[in-house]
Subunit: 131 residues, 2 copies
DNA sequence: TTTTTGTTGATAATGAAATATCAATACCCA
DNA sequence: TGGGTATTGATATTTCATTATCAACAAAAA
């Protein structure tokens, strides 16, 4: 049972590779469906499951919302969550995040992640600047 | 319909105020039930909903797991997620998190949050040090 | 082409968190 | 202390994300 190269997989992969931010399955489906009307949501779920298994994409989770996925790029980056539209954007990562001065003993710190909050350009423009 | 001071609310509030890490409703229920056997999970959900509404506690979300809640303390702190047991711990926040050098134009950065990853003392001790 | 069989799309099913329902209970004020 | 009524506990229901099912379809090989 060798894998087949289908039009839907091609489109789904292209969309997620081209995206500049992590997408939910729904967002990915909506975008891919523009190129391929009739695309089933189940197909997107299957594609995402497989790509995640193969490490082509990585899962990203944030408050209340469904899991998002983005291409597994090597470059380090952080996320920016818009308080208003709740979309998640990729932004350049911070220079460096220092470890806490005091660390609970016995704990091993192996990595960190930074999330910035604020208003995205669209929302800020609409006067929803604060919070 | 004035609010009443019930034993269950007292216990639930005490537990979450005393906790040194964000708790899921299940964790909170388990802990409170030790003091008050028979405590219903629905009561915990109701208490949490109300406390969150009144800003006594804040919601904290992380990958795959249900929403966690913790006392809304003023002091700034970060979270530490153990790769193994998945528990979330409070740790002292980093000195300072610099903004990305390049920021998408129009975006307003209003805050940030840091999450550290690694092994908690318990898991590290059990030889599950790496990852 | 024809055949084989992996893949798709529609949808039912599942799983889990959170909310709604309601009779029984227990606060708390008169 | 008695009773009106907010709250509780058990559980049904809802809500959604995700997975399973399966007939129809379409890659890829012959």
């Amino acid at each position: 049972m060798r894998a087949r190269t289908t039009r839907q997989l091609e489109v789904i992969r292209t969309v997620i590779q081209a995206a500049d931010r992590p997408l939910t399955v729904a967002e990915l489906h909506a975008e891919a469906a523009r190129e391929l009307p009739g695309l089933g949501i189940a197909t997107v779920y299957r594609a995402v499951r497989d790509m995640a298994r193969d490490r082509m994409i990585v899962a990203v989770n944030y408050p209340g919302q469904p899991t998002r996925y983005e291409a597994a790029l090597a470059r380090h980056h952080a996320h920016f969550i818009c308080h208003h539209c709740k979309r998640v954007f990729d932004v350049e990562g911070p220079e460096e995040v220092p470890l806490p001065r005091r660390r609970p003993k016995g704990f091993k710190f192996t990595g960190n992640e930074v999330v910035y909050y604020g208003s995205c350009a669209d929302c800020a423009r609409m006067g929803r600047g604060k919070r």
